[in-house]
Symmetry: C3
Subunit: 251 residues, 3 copies
């Protein structure tokens, strides 16, 4: 089986940085399959990258190596990490972007040494790609660096219970379709209040007429606010951090 | 030979949905080659996706599986289809996006069952990807679902003959370069009238001086309106549906 | 080892042109690995493509075939080239985009014949892809066309020495992060003057406080102007061609 190395960056592709990184990977390990996940993370948006990583890191087969480079602190004294978790590997900066794998039971992290010749502005090419090639071809993570015992961890903000049985959450992401993804889970359904509107949780977008703003349980299990054939975030002027309230069905 | 699975979606890549879909494919069938065709179809623009599919579906080798997910009706009672046509396979929603393959002689379609556990908002991950993995590894399409005898079919609008021997067509797409692609074919050349301008059909962009608006026969065989080193759609305020007339050479 | 064919274009992906090109490659040579480098080069921006090619062409393994299609002159009498250089191959239009490989010692170029049936607007599909498939599977470049002895070559503009020991350069590119990449090299450090500001050359972005505009030696060896957690090009209104001066440390 060919080992898989995936790429998530905020580089875009037009400048040739991703091309350089791929060249380094294929030159070191021509037998790998390099898989683009995204190069369109908004520049330096660690939180967007963290949420994407949470979606995908464990869906790939055992042995997959995930490179994640959204790295505003490149060249500073932030550590460069390799992480082993649930039989997958992740490499990237120690800024919280690897949290979904670090928080899983049994994860281990090592701090990668930065070679003297490495560019201080492009660790993706000079630090993370070589580490990923090594891991993809069976090098033990323990030989790549010293254990890092307190990596930076970021978590999705938790919703809190309101005085009246409601649950008070917030928007954690706006996706390409303008859907506002919240941190609310609603196993028994209920009503959602956001931006001065109230709406029931329906099963899917199609359970609404065109233009209606609705709430659905999205594909990651969280309640999303969507507009049928429209853009809910624009319609309701929503952004990351916007308040959203769940009134559970039993309330 | 490694089986090929291609992807065309309107997901963008930044939110991690494409990453999840690829994870599901590689976990089920690590031996496949997954090929990105586009994730930049404008959100929910079934017509753009249909035109792209028409360009590529038959150019890939026999046995290729094309996943196409532009799916505003996800979760509704629209069928989820797998199609066999000219020794290729396509999976996607029953909204017309698969028409180019459905209209070819000998095509067959089956309706994929939607598992109870499938997300009502992400059939790409939970319905189409598993079906594609099955087809790529040799599962018979007949075992995937019951025959669908009347799938939704969309066609490129046909040009019509005018009273004076002209042919009256319309713009069916604007491409990234601002070229306006019409539904006109002009095997014997002629003159094009659009947006109050008239111009001969020339052989290629370079047969004009910079800034000139010209008509050429594009790479799919249709007449296109282009501006040398410019953007014809912006220059002439063209959009999908804009009227365009051909006066054939013999007229 | 599977041969590698890389793709750099200004096609975007939404229109299906890249999809057609990949279909042609996989149909001719199913055993290759096709690697996307970028399809987001600004339309017809030969200079951006040339700078990207300079970054990556030699980082890939021996035998790699690079397809580069940024081709405003498609269909004109500009030659279609295949280039052999340092054991890699490049195919693309003769407009300077292949210069980084042409300028390396020992390079050779041949002019590819354009088949009668080729679309005059899409040589990527009908000329460059077939040539790339041939090269990737071991066909000798000499059999693909007649030697081209004077291909178009473009060079990065050279900085010049000022009367007072300073070095006067210019911005050659703005990257996705808003970093302005100059044609200055500063092996011994110094100070940079640009847009009425002066700043020392620091080691990396993190050696500044948020909002500061700084100069660093970038990953390609050139001095770059950056803004910590910001966009230097926007902050200082910089563009390709903006003047920038280096006052070397010893001056």
């Amino acid at each position: 089986m060919r080992p898989i190395i995936t790429l998530l960056t905020d580089f875009g592709t037009a400048d040739g940085y991703v091309a350089e990184l791929k060249g380094v990977l294929y030159a070191a390990t021509p037998e790998v399959t390099v898989v683009d996940l995204s190069h369109d993370i908004p520049p330096q948006d660690v939180e967007s990258a963290r949420l994407a990583v949470a979606r995908y890191w464990r869906r790939f087969p055992s042995g997959t190596v995930h490179i994640i480079v959204v790295d505003p602190g490149v060249g500073s004294n932030r550590a460069a990490l390799a992480v082993s978790s649930d039989d997958r590997f992740l490499v990237g900066p120690d800024n919280g972007v690897l949290s979904p794998a670090l928080l899983a039971g049994g994860s281990r992290a090592v701090a990668l040494p930065v070679p003297t010749m490495a560019s201080a502005t492009f660790h993706g090419r000079d630090v993370f790609a070589p580490a990923a090639s090594a891991l993809a071809t069976g090098t033990s993570i323990d030989t790549l660096g010293a254990a890092c015992l307190d990596p930076v961890v970021r978590r999705t903000p938790e919703a809190r219970r309101g005085p009246d049985g409601s649950v008070i959450g917030e928007v954690i992401a706006i996706d390409r379709f303008g859907n506002a993804i919240s941190n609310l889970i609603a196993p028994r359904g209920g009503r959602i209040e956001i931006a001065g509107r109230a709406m029931p949780i329906v099963r899917t977008y199609a359970d609404a007429v065109v233009g209606d703003v609705i709430a659905v349980v999205g594909s990651s299990g969280f309640v999303e606010i969507a507009q049928r054939d429209g853009n809910a975030a624009r319609a309701l002027d929503l952004a990351r951090g916007s308040a959203v309230t769940l009134r559970p069905s039993s309330a």
